[in-house]
């Protein structure tokens, strides 16, 4: 069912420099060449009846309802498949057309149930609308004959062999074949939009029916539950269960998804303050009307019973919680921070901002740290994901952000994906990438694991460089070696755009024989010929684009690898236009924004170092306070300082460091050593179990603000329901600042953005009004680029000349040996998100109810492990137990798991190793041993005990008299 708010123009837009003018029902219409007659008519506000056409999909021409008459053409062509021509004269309505359309509708309705009044699509059904539009008054064929509608043959009581019962296996939507008109919109949506090709039309003629995989249930099939088919369905055949339960929405509001860094635009379809469903926005600049299972369906957490909506405090973490008023909670937190700073010094407190919160919320937290705490101890979870991107791209290109729009991929000839799994981590962008690959772009995948993209319907990677975890830099140096020594350098680009001294140094470095694919193949495990072929392919096409993820950054050499990628892009001239670029796939919805907003301990908003007197001076003038010129502690440094007794107070905004950060036991020991931890979150997450103050947070549905996605695109988040705690997150932070004695007086998040714009050169032109007007805007947005900057580094690099850096391969110290012979690497899965705090509280558990350890069958066999066995996983840092899944997706010698469930303890195993430049943890390489076991690990037993105790303390929460 399409959105209640969108107008469907029937066929997709066409781009053409040439305009074509035609006459439709006497109206002159001008449209780009290639546009269909149906779309041209719709643009002239003429509605041609249609069923199989929708502007999200290519025309199909099967329903025969949209036929028209065109002067000089024979018969009655379908307007959806007929392109416009200059001077064409079209008639969309006359007696003959009406008669034909009624005939078509009569046939459709003769095999369709007549339960319109109780049907969930009632009021928003295209079949019903068309029956009305064509004036259908009778169905002469009756309903007694051969049909798909009735369970029993009418009048006979025997089972109807054509009838197929409703499939309710998917937790979010139902499939009712009795209502299907076989328009193929669902099948085409699965093909064209999602690119999974899970659906098909089975059989021929009257036997035709929609089938998921080979007649499987939707849940068991290859369906990834993106919901594109549900949105495409013109009847109630595919319907959201929420619509079945509640009825139609009555209004809608455009907002931005709070899951991954793609930042999809959605219409929240509402009834009052209740969400009926989320429908991806057709005009969304990042997603163009597509979505994934998380963004569209997994929103139940926002109203989950586990939500905590009242502030709570306690003196010790062994005490029960005490529900108090907002004023009391804030006063308590402020007095504790003041006490700690008085006792242990100004630098003994700090904060962690959230990459899931809005830019405005993050900005006020870092402002609180710098202005009210008086230090720079603020960091963000980007520390543990893309901090190397910020560092590496700033050093080479001059700006800490990706260079392109997502749409740029449609011009790429070669796509290189390094250490990213887009179909799971960034599914909506992956669908666009797959669309380009199906059009013929070539694919190179560098990943230790055979990710889905390597071979998927109609797509096969030209090269899968299945390297050993931890050898990225060795691989990129080998690729660069081939580019430089085989004459693939784009000399013109380098001479015009790059710093030549740095280039020459780099050229000499990578030319050394020790970096050749032959010399490095024993290190990387990738055959030299494969590396050479991939390098030649990458460097020999007009447009080659690199997409990368945490498989690049979360290594001891994460920053080196980011620089290696930038070096390669510059050397081959692949920066500064569409179809190319360096594209970090950012993890969380607002991780780009949280970095932009000055969440790092060394940088003010806009990536200006705290020691920069001019930048700091501007903030001091606006904030009316003296700021520290010394960088503060990063998250891992905070933990170290806590264990030393020098760091005692932490304000955590919407993050769960006790689950997401490496070496869990080290983290929890640090948290236990602090005297005041304030957690602002929706739930009592793992970190909150160590907290003294709990400030209830608000979901993205409960606030106004902005998120910035991986393309630097700033989009609006809009409040569609009141905050359940009564107080927005930025307001809570403001209250805390005021209680600490630093005044903040914002009355709306737009005022915070106005301040950001005043103080940040790349945001000078940004305002809520402008975003509302343009839909979204990509920074830099200022006088030089008033409507934003889709592509960066077009004529010159942000830093002037592009700078090459020497990228020495330094092997990680995390090495396998006889005791720890396997390498563990971690990742994520489509249905779950990060620590799972949100997705575990939704029906997405149907796809992933526990984390599993993927192990190669050979490694499993020598350990006597079979599918589903409990296995102990032990590293130098700790041990845990989870169930084994045998698969040859991982190489022999490598095991893999996800970290979505706290009890899995994936991060109990990961170590303190980190990126040399940014301290981003080395999540992707841990030496482990795997053994069959029969019970949970000691850590898991302790965890369960502690966690159960904390839940009891929550249940035992007493309510203060003042809030009763």
């Amino acid at each position: 069912m399409r959105s209640i708010a969108e107008n469907d123009l029937g066929t997709p837009a066409r781009e053409s420099a040439k305009q074509v003018t035609l006459i439709i029902d006497g109206r002159s219409v001008s449209v780009p060449e290639g546009t269909s007659v149906m779309r041209a008519a719709a643009l002239a506000d003429l509605k041609i009846p249609k069923l199989c056409a929708t502007d999200q999909l290519e025309a199909f021409g099967s329903c025969r309802l949209c036929l028209v008459q065109i002067e000089g053409m024979k018969g009655y062509p379908a307007s959806c498949t007929t392109p416009v021509a200059e001077g064409m004269k079209v008639t969309t309505q006359n007696g003959k057309l009406a008669q034909l359309r009624r005939g078509v509708m009569e046939l459709y309705i003769s095999d369709h149930p007549l339960d319109c009044l109780t049907c969930p699509a009632n009021g928003h059904c295209e079949l019903q609308d068309m029956a009305g539009a064509v004036g259908l008054r009778e169905v002469r064929y009756g309903y007694e004959g051969d049909n798909h509608v009735h369970k029993y043959v009418p009048g006979k009581g025997e089972a109807n062999p054509r009838f197929v019962a409703k499939d309710e296996s998917n937790p979010y939507f139902t499939f009712d074949p009795s209502k299907c008109i076989v328009c193929s919109r669902c099948v085409r949506a699965c093909d064209e939009q999602q690119g999974t090709l899970a659906l098909t039309i089975q059989g021929r003629g009257f036997d035709s029916k929609v089938s998921a995989s080979v007649a499987e249930s939707f849940l068991e099939s290859e369906c990834v539950s993106c919901g594109a088919c549900v949105q495409a369905c013109p009847t109630a055949t595919l319907t959201e269960k929420s619509v079945i339960a509640k009825g139609q929405a009555e209004h809608s509001e455009i907002t931005t998804c709070a899951y991954c860094g793609v930042g999809c635009s959605f219409r929240a379809e509402m009834r009052g303050e209740e969400i009926i469903r989320m429908v991806p926005n057709k005009d969304g600049h990042a997603n163009h009307g597509h979505s994934c299972v998380k963004g569209r369906f997994a929103i139940g957490y926002a109203t989950h019973k586990d939500r905590i909506t009242k502030p709570m405090i306690r003196a010790k973490i062994s005490d029960p919680w005490r529900e108090v008023s907002w004023d009391d909670a804030i006063a308590y937190a402020a007095s504790e921070f003041k006490r700690i700073q008085g006792q242990y010094g100004r630098d003994s407190v700090g904060a962690i901002t959230s990459s899931r919160c809005t830019n405005e919320e993050v900005y006020v937290v870092q402002k609180l740290v710098r202005a009210a705490f008086g230090n720079n101890n603020v960091d963000t979870c980007a520390r543990v994901c893309h901090s190397p991107t910020g560092y590496g791209l700033k050093q080479t290109l001059g700006e800490s952000a990706g260079t392109q729009t997502f749409d740029s991929v449609m011009k790429a000839d070669v796509i290189m994906v390094i250490g990213a799994n887009p179909t799971d981590g960034h599914p909506v962008f992956a669908s666009q990438m797959k669309r380009r690959l199906r059009q013929g772009a070539r694919l190179i995948v560098a990943d230790p694991r055979r990710i889905d993209l390597v071979r998927t319907p109609h797509i096969e990677a030209a090269h899968h460089l299945s390297l050993r975890p931890g050898t990225n830099v060795a691989l990129i140096n080998s690729i660069a070696h081939v580019v430089v020594t085989e004459g693939f350098v784009n000399e013109d680009f380098v001479r015009a755009r790059c710093d030549l001294a740095s280039f020459d140094k780099w050229r000499i470095f990578v030319s050394q024989e020790r970096h050749s694919p032959e010399a490095m193949q024993d290190v990387t495990g990738v055959p030299a010929a494969e590396v050479r072929a991939a390098a030649r392919l990458f460097a020999s096409v007009p447009n080659a684009a690199i997409y990368y993820g945490l498989g690049v950054t979360e290594h001891s050499q994460g920053s080196t690898m980011v620089m290696g990628i930038a070096n390669l892009a510059m050397a081959t001239g692949n920066v500064g236009r569409e179809g190319v670029g360096v594209n970090p796939l950012r993890g969380q919805n607002n991780v780009q924004g949280s970095c932009d907003m000055g969440s790092f301990p060394h940088e003010l908003p806009g990536y200006r170092h705290v020691s920069d007197d001019v930048a700091r001076g501007a903030f001091e003038a606006e904030w009316n306070v003296k700021l520290s010129p010394e960088q503060g502690l990063r998250i891992p440094n905070m933990f170290e300082a806590a264990l030393d007794g020098e760091f005692k107070g932490l304000y955590v905004q919407g993050e769960d460091i006790a689950q997401s950060d490496p070496n869990t036991q080290h983290v929890t020991a640090s948290l236990s050593a602090m005297e005041c931890i304030v957690v602002q979150d929706l739930f009592l997450n793992e970190t909150a179990k160590f907290a003294h103050v709990f400030l209830p947070g608000s979901s993205f549905l409960e606030k106004d603000g902005t998120f910035t996605n991986a393309e630097r695109r700033i989009s609006r988040v809009r409040k569609v329901m009141s905050p359940k705690s009564g107080v927005g997150e930025w307001e809570a932070t403001q209250k805390l600042a005021n209680a600490l004695g630093y005044p903040m007086n914002y009355t709306h998040p737009s005022e915070i953005m106005d301040e950001i714009a005043r103080l940040t050169p790349t945001f000078h032109g940004v305002s809520f009004d402008k975003i509302d007007r343009l839909g979204s805007v990509q920074w830099p947005c200022n006088d030089a680029a008033p409507e934003g900057t889709p592509l960066m580094h077009v004529d010159a690099f942000v830093r002037g000349k592009g700078r090459f850096l020497v990228t020495e391969y330094v092997p990680t110290t995390e090495k396998v040996n006889a005791k720890y012979p396997l390498i563990l690497t971690t990742g994520r899965i489509l249905s779950q998100y990060n620590v799972g705090a949100q997705t575990r509280r939704t029906e997405n558990l149907a796809w992933h109810s526990e984390d599993r350890m993927e192990i190669h069958p050979h490694d499993a066999e020598v350990r006597g492990v079979v599918e589903g066995d409990w296995v102990g996983v032990t590293s130098r840092a700790g041990d845990t137990v989870m169930r084994a899944h045998l698969t040859d997706r991982v190489q022999a010698g490598v095991v893999y798991t996800t970290f979505h469930h706290p009890f899995s303890g994936a991060n109990v195993i990961t170590t303190d190793n980190s990126d040399w430049a940014t301290n981003c943890p080395e999540y992707k390489v841990t030496a482990v041993e795997v053994t069959r076991v029969s019970q949970p690990s000691e850590w898991q037993k302790r965890y369960r005990e502690f966690s159960d105790r904390q839940q009891e303390l929550l249940r035992a929460a007493v309510t203060d008299v003042s809030v009763k």
Partner: protein, 74 residues
């Protein structure tokens, strides 16, 4: 803070700049990085260690650390 961790982290930085062709570039690279990214208490601690000999620091890292200004305690 845990000195052993600080030494490892400083040597990791040294590892990257170890690829630079001249000794001066190697030392300056490490020194600038520490000055820009390490919190004052971490710098104080590593400088004190280097002044006492800094046995576990690589040579160019020790030289780089000894170039750092020691920020006063606040």
């Amino acid at each position: 803070m845990n000195l052993e961790r600080l030494v490892i982290m400083a040597n990791d930085i040294g590892g990257f700049f170890g690829g630079e062709p001249t000794a001066e570039e190697r030392i300056a690279g490490v020194s600038n990085h520490l000055a820009k990214f390490w919190d004052p208490r971490m710098r104080r601690q590593i400088v004190a260690y280097a002044r006492e000999g800094g046995a576990d620091l690589s040579d160019h890292v020790r030289a780089a650390v000894l170039r750092l200004d020691v920020p006063p305690k606040t």
